[in-house]
């Protein structure tokens, strides 16, 4: 009964949403160049099915690669900030300042520096936009570690690396995954930003752009749905990783 409810309720919600959307378009008698209705979407998906697969894959791998780089770099910066007071004081304003720049403004800059390197530019943007939350969460997680946790091992003569591996790292994992969930969405935005804005782009963003150029509104809406599906996929992938590596942080429900 409970599992049925877990599956049925979300599906029902999606169906209701689609029905409401269809009804909205139908009642207002909007033509599909004003707003496509859900029933316009399957034909659009079918017509461009190979393009969707190809472009979807492009978007996916670039996003994931950018995200992986963000995790590596963000964790490294976070560790440096977490362990050294001086590094923290020095890096923080730089990071905050960089994060404050709307990333859309960086697209032309990057495009000019690395002309024609579409894959590289896209991955770079996904990375740039998504490492900040990870760096901050790891840095804060490490710097707020209660001294007693460190003392348990330090009093036995454990090295800094051992203390990091056995205590600091696992203790930071819940915060890390919280940040990763934010970063997934951000990386996705970064990828699409470049795909849409850059000329001769590839990926779902470029498909969206071509729909706009050709006045194919059902295609544009279909891309939006495809993007949503990819976003959900990535989000749940992170959720599964979180269950595996930081499942202990979830309190048993009583």
């Amino acid at each position: 009964m409970e599992t049925l409810q877990k599956i049925a309720v979300p599906i029902l919600a999606v169906v209701l949403f689609l029905l409401a959307w269809e009804a909205l378009v139908w009642v207002n008698d909007w033509p599909n160049y004003k707003m496509a209705s859900p029933s316009d979407l399957p034909p659009a998906f079918w017509k461009f099915r190979w393009l969707f697969l190809e472009m979807g894959w492009q978007t996916l791998w670039r996003t994931v690669l950018g995200l992986v780089l963000a995790v590596l770099f963000g964790t490294m910066i976070g560790m440096i900030m977490g362990f050294s007071r001086i590094a923290r004081d020095g890096l923080y304003p730089l990071l905050v300042g960089f994060n404050a720049i709307p990333k859309a403004t960086l697209v032309p800059v990057i495009s000019l520096i690395f002309i024609g390197q579409h894959d590289f530019n896209t991955v770079l943007m996904a990375f740039l936009i998504s490492f900040f939350p990870i760096a901050v969460s790891v840095g804060i997680g490490l710097s707020t570690l209660e001294p007693e946790y460190r003392d348990i091992l330090r009093s036995l003569g454990a090295s800094r690396l051992t203390i990091f591996r056995k205590i600091a790292l696992p203790k930071t994992l819940p915060e890390f995954f919280g940040a990763l969930k934010v970063s997934v969405t951000l990386a996705f935005i970064g990828t699409n930003l470049v795909e849409i804005v850059a000329p001769h782009g590839r990926g779902l963003g470029a498909l969206f752009k071509s729909g706009e150029t050709n006045g194919d509104y059902p295609l544009m809406f279909a891309v939006l749905i495809a993007l949503a599906a990819l976003g959900i996929l990535l989000y749940y992938a992170v959720l599964v990783l979180e269950r595996i590596f930081a499942g202990w942080a979830e309190r048993p429900q009583s």
Binding site: E146, E148, Y149, D151, I152, L153, R154, S155, L156, G157, A158, T162, K166, I167, P170, K171, L173, A246, W248, A249, R251, P252
Partner: protein, 262 residues
């Protein structure tokens, strides 16, 4: 007879924004091997600094700390620590938590030997059957028991405890006193217990060191000449009552209120 722990003329001050804050002033504490030293004193008198000094986690400005005839200048594997906060690692089971020090101190010890040793201790403190649980599934008293097991799993010469029972309710605390007494009978170690609880110091200690208010000096040393196999009843007998009175007076002096009628 040589003392296992020898704190000789230790003076220490912290550097704060408003200048030097002296916490320890020519402190002397000596604990013979196998003895249990309870340290009491007013709040903020530098008792926690004392634990960090003995553990080798920091160096005093002046004076010396000796363990086993060796001068302490850095952490050593022969020390176990327990704090008021049990600081159990939430991502490990109780058994894995207790094993943790062995992973550092005895990296070559076979896993099954580690587990056998940890299980033996968990059984002694009454946590058999809970070894697979997460810390969050246990009560405060049980967590503190697990923390005690972890502090002595690697058979340290010295056990340093900083108000380990301070956050527990009275009855749980008394249970843990008895656990502590039984552990000591089974596993010989020299112990320094920092506490606020005078009854605790008399029940567990062989000697009670009263520290003065900040900066702390050794104001008085009380020999607790009660039998080793104490029960809680002993605290209500005249001999213990008299000691408690003495200690209470000493604390009042340490707080700088010896003129008070109460």
């Amino acid at each position: 007879m040589a003392n296992l722990i020898d704190i000789k003329g230790v003076t220490h001050a912290y550097r704060t924004k408003s200048g030097l804050l002296p916490v320890l002033d020519n402190l002397n504490i000596a604990v013979p091997e196998g003895e249990f030293a309870a340290v009491v004193g007013p709040s903020g008198c530098g008792k926690s600094t004392l634990t960090r000094l003995v553990a080798g986690l920091m160096k005093p400005d002046q004076g010396e700390v000796w363990l086993h005839g060796e001068r302490v200048t850095s952490p050593r594997k022969t020390v176990g620590m327990a704090f008021q906060n049990p600081v159990l690692l939430e991502w490990r089971s109780i058994l894995e938590n207790v094993i943790l020090p062995l992973e550092i101190v005895a990296p070559r010890m076979p896993q099954q030997d580690r587990e056998a040793r940890a299980m033996h201790l968990l059984e002694m403190v009454g946590l058999k059957g809970f070894e697979g649980k997460r810390p969050s599934e246990l009560s405060g008293g049980m967590r503190q028991r697990a923390s005690l097991c972890r502090a002595i799993v690697h058979k340290p010469d010295v056990l340093i405890m900083d108000e380990p029972f301070g956050a527990l309710d009275n009855f749980t605390r008394e249970d843990l006193w008895q656990t502590m007494r039984d552990l000591r009978a089974a596993e010989p170690f020299t112990c320094v217990l920092i506490t606020h609880d005078l009854r605790e110091s008399v029940f567990l200690g062989d000697q009670v060191f009263v520290l003065s208010g900040r900066p702390a000096r050794t104001q008085m040393v009380l020999d607790v000449d009660l039998p080793a196999d104490r029960t809680l009843d002993i605290l209500y007998q005249p001999k213990a009552q008299e000691m408690l009175h003495t200690l209470r007076d000493q604390i009042r002096i340490a707080q700088g209120r010896d003129g008070d009628a109460h």
